[in-house]
């Protein structure tokens, strides 16, 4: 999953970014509204964590422009503006959630994951495909009764495929949603990580759940 954090206060931006990365998100960050809007319009994010009082362009204007341009990315506002009117205003501009500063990171993560599930129409935080079980809250992957240890990128890749279960996901989409700043990877690199993931998931002669569609991409589903 890919997230964008737009926050002008450095320590908070860094903390949120690190926490989301720990949760398996590929995270980009921005310190002002103008750059944040450019990123949100230029790349595909699963969720945007957005402050309101930003230099350059305020958060509400960022939301307004995104929605006017038909961008339906899920947005959670994090702001110190705590009155009912201010929260209502933020949501009426097109935000999907509102969190008041200061907040617990656990709550932010829970809300971000809820938005991701909503995006991919998943109600249950535990995604089951055949005997594969992906607990998005605990970031735990099991197959049968044995737990599978994955790296952060492998988990990110599996999580994205699992959320899009049954759909063919192109290499570009995977690249866009799993790699931060589109660095350290390419569409060919996706194939490499798919290989790593298959190897771990199919260990001990288990059924292959990741299927290649020539010229289209990959699909995670029952055989």
């Amino acid at each position: 999953m890919r997230a964008l954090v737009v926050e002008d206060y450095g320590p908070l931006r860094e903390a949120v970014t690190e926490c989301l990365r720990d949760e398996g998100f590929a995270v980009d960050s921005s310190s002002n509204g103008t750059d944040g809007l450019w990123r949100a319009e230029s790349f595909s994010y699963d969720v945007v964590v957005l402050d309101i009082m930003l230099p350059g362009l305020d958060g509400l204007s960022v939301i307004s422009r995104l929605r006017n341009h038909g961008n339906d990315v899920h947005i959670i506002i994090t702001s110190a503006r705590d009155s009912v009117a201010q929260r209502t205003e933020g949501l009426s501009y097109g935000a999907d959630d509102y969190l008041i500063k200061p907040f617990a990171l656990e709550e932010l993560i829970a809300r971000v994951q809820a938005l991701v599930r909503r995006r991919y129409e998943k109600k249950n935080p535990i995604i089951r495909i055949d005997d594969l079980e992906l607990d998005t809250l605990k970031q735990r992957v099991t197959r049968g009764r044995s737990e599978i240890k994955l790296t952060a990128r492998e988990y990110g890749l599996l999580s994205y495929l699992a959320h899009r279960r049954g759909h063919v996901v192109s290499r570009t989409e995977i690249w866009e949603h799993v790699y931060e700043d589109y660095s350290g990877g390419s569409s060919n690199g996706v194939d490499v990580y798919i290989g790593y993931l298959r190897k771990k998931l199919n260990a001990n002669g288990r059924t292959n759940l990741i299927h290649a569609r020539r010229g289209l991409g990959y699909i995670l589903d029952t055989p």
Binding site: D8, Y9, G10, P11, L12, E14, A15, V16, E18, C19, D22, S31, N32, T34, D35, M53, P55, G56, L57, T78, A80, R81, D82, I100, K101, P102, F103, A104, L105, E106
Partner: protein, 509 residues
């Protein structure tokens, strides 16, 4: 007098009472004078009649007392004394002994003299006396010699052989009890009437005062009934309030508007301050929460704790600035003036600003006139203002930008310090909001996190300038240059300080 109502009541009461008293006394005195005049005229007329009736027969005064006493209209006690002015011989009516003859009874003047006196028994009397010459009469034939001693007093007044009658003095007194009783009744009537009128007048004054002052009471009731939420609402319009109270209501409205502005400013300040404190608090919370989220090496823990410490220092700095701003706004902080050498101080502060922003190295252009006199100002406030402006200039200058620092005395009693720097993306709206507390302009994005400003620096500068009697103006030169201009008075301790008007002049050229 503290109470208008009491003042009006007592004042009008005293006036009305005085008028009433003067009226009553005047009326009494006029009536008294008229009554006594009438009394005196009557007495004089009677005395003249008596004088005409007195005859001199055979050198003797003949006076028929019995006839007087029995005659119609003369049934009163008569106090009559006739005296010969030459021989001093007296003829007195029998009643005279009751009162005793006063010394002034005798006169040689023919003009009547009226005297008010008291008899020896305490009776109030009024007399008239004048000199006259009795008529020479024919001796009466005596019916019998017995009557002469009781009814007729005959005194030998002429010396034998004398033909011209001698002058006599007539004194007649009459009791004034009837007149005094009349006047006493009049006085009682006037007193009772006066008291009644005074009571009615008091009630009327009380009612009128209440009625006249009722708009004032209504106004105070309106103000008293106000809740905290509508404390700044304007008072009733002019047509509802009497003309005399309109200046007061206008003054109240002006005052209330100022209070409303102050309250709004306090609210905004509190809201903005709370907002500004929430963000670093959130940063601190998140950093510490992240640190304990999973086991880490001691070095990693140390790094995160140091980060939290940095945030807490930022919080402390922010709180210090807020407190400073609050003290400046409330006027608790007073300047201490001293002589400051402008060039040295500006150079020092510029070095400090550059040291604090090592990543930005703009070119600095100095334009300090050689004849600029030393500035008398509060050094700490001066440093706070200039540091803020220079820090902003250095922070927001783009790569290759130029900062210009000028100092001159363009007009008598004024020293101007201008700081201008290159900038980008500034618009007039940014300029107009530049001094709003917690406002961050579009150019703030160029600032690194380590120099992230709370947005209260320029607001503090403005208040500090007001404390120093200086003014601070900002001008947008074209679209890529901003200039802050400070006008300091050369001698701020003497003369009038500028009003603490925190409005600024923001313009574009």
């Amino acid at each position: 007098m503290k109470s208008i109502k009491s003042g009006l009541t007592v004042g009008v009461g005293l006036c009305a009472g005085s008028i009433l008293l003067i009226g009553c006394v005047s009326h009494y005195l006029v009536v008294r004078k008229h009554v006594y005049t009438e009394f005196d005229q009557d007495l004089l007329q009677y005395a003249r009649l008596v004088a005409q009736e007195i005859e001199l027969e055979e050198n003797r005064i003949r006076h028929d007392w019995l006839e007087w006493h029995t005659a119609l209209g003369r049934n009163v006690i008569e106090f009559i004394q006739i005296s010969n002015t030459e021989s001093g011989k007296l003829v007195q009516s029998p009643s005279v002994d009751q009162i005793g003859v006063p010394e002034f009874a005798w006169t040689s003047n023919t003009d009547p003299r009226f005297i008010e006196f008291q008899g020896k028994d305490g009776t109030a009397l009024r007399s008239v006396s004048f000199a006259f010459t009795p008529v020479i009469g024919t001796p009466h034939a005596m019916d019998d010699g017995d009557d002469e001693s009781d009814e007729t007093v005959v005194i030998e007044v002429l010396a034998p052989g004398t033909s011209v009658p001698p002058a006599h003095s007539l004194f007649i007194a009459r009791e004034t009890s009837s007149v005094d009783a009349l006047l006493a009744r009049l006085a009682s009537s006037l007193l009772l009437g006066g008291l009644l009128v005074a009571g009615v007048t008091s009630l009327a004054i009380h009612w009128v005062t209440n009625h006249v002052l009722s708009p004032l009471a209504s106004l105070s009731q309106t103000l008293e009934n106000r809740s905290e939420d509508d404390i700044g609402a304007p008072l009733p319009p002019g047509d509802v309030v009497p003309v005399e109270l309109r200046p007061l209501t206008r003054a109240f409205d002006t005052l209330l508007a100022k209070i409303r502005q102050i309250i709004q400013r306090e609210r905004d300040f509190a809201t903005n301050a709370a907002h500004e404190l929430r963000t670093p608090a959130a940063g601190l919370h998140s950093t510490l929460e992240l640190a304990v989220r999973k086991p880490r090496s001691s070095k990693e823990y140390e790094r995160r704790i140091r980060k939290a410490l940095t945030i807490s220092e930022h919080l402390r700095d922010l709180l210090d600035r807020l407190m400073h701003l609050a003290r400046l706004q409330s006027g608790q902080e007073k300047p201490e003036f001293e002589s400051v050498h402008l060039r040295d101080e500006l150079c020092y502060l510029m070095e400090m600003a550059q040291a604090g922003n090592p990543s930005t190295v703009p070119e600095v252009e100095w334009r300090i006139a050689t004849d600029v006199p030393p500035l008398r100002t509060d050094l700490s406030l001066f440093r706070m203002i200039i540091s803020n402006l220079l820090d902003n200039a250095v922070s927001y200058s783009p790569v290759g930008g130029i900062i210009t620092i000028e100092a001159s005395d363009p007009e008598p009693n004024t020293i101007r310090v201008s700081i201008s720097n290159s900038t980008t993306q500034l618009c007039q709206d940014d300029i107009e909001r530049m001094f709003d507390p917690f406002n961050r302009g579009t150019h703030a994005s160029q600032c690194s996190d380590s120099h992230r400003h709370a947005g209260i620096g320029l607001g503090m500068c403005l208040h500090a300038c007001a404390s120093l009697g200086a003014s601070l103006d900002v001008t947008l030169k074209a679209s890529d240059r901003i200039e802050f201009s400070l006008d300091f008075p050369t001698n701020p301790e003497v003369g009038s300080h500028r009003e603490r008007d925190f409005a600024t002049n923001a313009s574009t050229s």
